[in-house]
């Protein structure tokens, strides 16, 4: 998707990272003090979706691969960690690791299949594979079918810290979100990330330079799926619920929307996009089908007139990568 990225491309130079660092510190500070003013559950939901969108953005923004099935990683990790916490009674950190690991494994398999085709076929394949995971979740005995897994105990972190209250859970989610974000940031700026961007800009050229692009794409897919799983596992503990909503294709569409609205290929765009969409859903929740209509309209407007997204536009305005 070369068109959008022309603005983000100069992000490579070293001096530019300072602005990003400042914005990151502001963001971390915001999330650290925000629970004093905003409902903490809402903030935790926001951070889970923000991490989910950042993981998705790693693929679309930096490799140019549009996955239309990222809900499978979010949902599967949610189910696995909810099951582990509730039925096996493991501590929350183990539950989250198990869920994330399963999504990582799923990403190894689905990524291997999906990168066999390019462009729109890639999108259709990921969508179809995710639908398969959806039907699996609907029918498998441990997922609770339409009910999902409810009343998941948050337990005690490392067997010591009680996560039962919002005050106990919040720091954990904050650390996971910021940690995931920093990891993605590190990946993007690593030599590995540079090669990903090269593949995005011109894959045949990257091949001609001797890079095994399929392997790079596969690793990027696994990283993205695993981090999306981390978001899903955390989310299931926050809401103490794993349900079919998180595996459904509408969720895959939502994460695309968050990233598109915030700005594909920008570092902070997915966080902003997630914040806008999650707040919108909160306020429009009573309006039923209108949420879908508004989301569809946002899609249309973004694609037609606003392809850089919110953060992309700001970055373009101040001529600094964000």
């Amino acid at each position: 998707m070369a068109q959008t990225h022309t603005s983000a491309a100069p992000a490579v130079s070293n001096g530019s990272n300072r602005h990003q660092l400042i914005v990151f510190i502001l963001m971390a500070a915001f999330f650290a003090i925000a629970p004093a003013f905003v409902y903490p559950i809402f903030l935790m939901k926001l951070m889970c979706f923000a991490l989910f969108a950042c993981a998705f953005n790693l693929l679309i923004g930096y490799v140019g691969l549009l996955s239309f099935g990222h809900a499978m990683f979010l949902g599967l990790a949610g189910y696995v960690s909810a099951h582990a916490a509730k039925v096996w009674g493991v501590t929350p950190e183990v539950a989250i690791l198990l869920g994330t690991g399963c999504s990582g494994l799923l990403a190894v398999i689905t990524g291997y299949l999906a990168i066999k085709r390019q462009g729109i076929y890639f999108a259709m394949i990921t969508l179809a594979l995710a639908q398969m995971v959806f039907f699996f979740s609907l029918q498998a005995p441990f997922t609770g079918g339409e009910d999902g897994i409810q009343a998941v105990p948050r337990g005690r972190l490392f067997g010591v810290f009680d996560l039962g209250t919002a005050a106990g859970m919040y720091p954990v989610v904050l650390v996971i979100f910021l940690g995931g974000f920093l990891l993605i940031w590190r990946i993007i700026n690593s030599p590995f990330g540079q090669i990903l961007k090269a593949i995005r800009e011109n894959e045949p050229r990257a091949v001609s330079l001797g890079y095994d692009t399929d392997r790079y794409k596969h690793v990027a897919f696994i990283l993205s799926g695993t981090l999306a799983g981390l978001a899903g596992a955390t989310k299931s503990l926050v809401f103490q619920l794993a349900s079919l909503t998180d595996v459904h294709w509408t969720m895959s569409g939502e994460v695309v929307l968050m990233t598109l609205l915030g700005g594909m290929g920008t570092l902070f765009g997915p966080v902003v996009g997630a914040a806008v969409i999650v707040s919108m859903q909160n306020y429009l929740a009573q309006l039923g089908a209108w949420v879908t209509i508004v989301q569809g309209l946002v899609f249309v407007v973004c694609v037609l007139a606003f392809r850089r997204g919110i953060v992309g536009e700001i970055a373009n305005l101040i001529r600094k990568p964000l």
């Binding site: 066999k116 729109i120 259709m124 179809a128 639908q131 089908a289 569809g296 249309v300 694609v303 392809r307």
Partner: protein
């Protein structure tokens, strides 16, 4: 009478349902392939437009008293016309961009259309009865064949083959195929390629609407009827590859039959069998059964 421990009535009954689903897969994937060939976009709104076809048929009957046969003619034209408007106003500016934007745009359009219909008619289905000329059915000895279902399979097959004939064997089709290969050159020969693109999109959308009208008496007319179907059709398209018209038709009907058989022998997998086949095809023949790797 039994075959492999399954009563023939059940076996052939499911095969018939498979064949009907296959007709819809064929019609929808054919439309997707025609649109993709010329516009290079995947029309994510295809499922929503299929649903619109069914709703137009329902509304024509409920509001204007126009019968199924009128709907069969009018619904594809009406829905195809909305497709023309979408192409002219929204898709056109995207051709010079990455193809993925077309996918994202049509996904948004699908959400809007489905949301609007859900607002108006709720999530539950509206009944649409089989036209009187095609009610009833006949006993074939080994199974009971409802007339309407036989008609759907027959009509879709005719429409599919007609489309194949027009594209592969007529002058119009030759222009179309030439424009798929090299639009600039075809335009240089004095053919109005932008108009051809618009009409092609309208035609593909019309095919989806036609499938919707035919589906209306079989499934209930509901806003979500196309949403899950389109994902299966995407898998069908990945399996067949979009390179060949005949390939889309054969793959559509074939996969419908396989799905029907799965319902008989291993019902738990009937939802996923097409996706499993997609995985196998990707492993063995990544370009699809009839496709060429681009």
């Amino acid at each position: 009478m039994e075959i492999f421990g399954v009563p023939t009535q059940a076996l052939f009954g499911q095969l018939l349902i498979g064949l009907i689903n296959g007709s819809f897969y064929a019609l929808l994937s054919l439309g997707l392939a025609v649109i993709f060939g010329l516009l290079n976009i995947i029309n994510f709104a295809h499922g929503a437009q299929y649903m619109m076809g069914a709703f137009v048929a329902y509304l024509l009957l409920a509001k204007l008293g126009l019968s199924y046969w009128w709907a069969l003619l009018l619904a594809p034209i009406i829905v195809g016309f909305t497709g023309v408007i979408i192409e002219r106003t929204m898709l056109k500016p995207l051709y010079k961009l990455d193809h993925l934007y077309g996918l994202l745009l049509t996904f948004g359009i699908a959400l809007v259309i489905q949301g609007l219909f859900r607002n108006e008619y709720g999530s539950s289905g509206q009944p649409y009865s089989v036209p009187p000329q095609l009610s009833g059915g006949r006993h074939l000895g080994f199974m009971f064949l409802p007339n309407y279902r036989a008609w759907v399979v027959f009509a879709s097959l005719v429409v599919c083959l007609l489309t194949w004939f027009v594209i592969e064997r007529t002058k119009l089709g030759a222009y179309l195929r030439a424009a798929t290969e090299n639009p600039t050159l075809v335009q240089a020969f004095g053919i109005n390629v932008p108009r051809m693109i618009t009409l092609t999109y309208g035609f593909g959308v019309g095919l989806a609407a036609l499938a919707g009208v035919m589906a209306a008496p079989i499934y209930q007319v509901s806003p979500q009827m196309g949403a899950d179907l389109i994902i299966v059709v995407f898998a069908v398209v990945v399996i067949g590859g979009m390179g060949s018209i005949m390939g889309s038709i054969v793959t559509g009907f074939g996969l419908g039959l396989i799905e029907g058989l799965t319902k008989v022998f291993y019902p738990e997998a009937s939802n996923t069998v097409i996706f499993v086949i997609m995985v196998i095809v990707l492993l063995l023949r990544p370009a699809g059964l009839f496709g060429t790797q681009k």
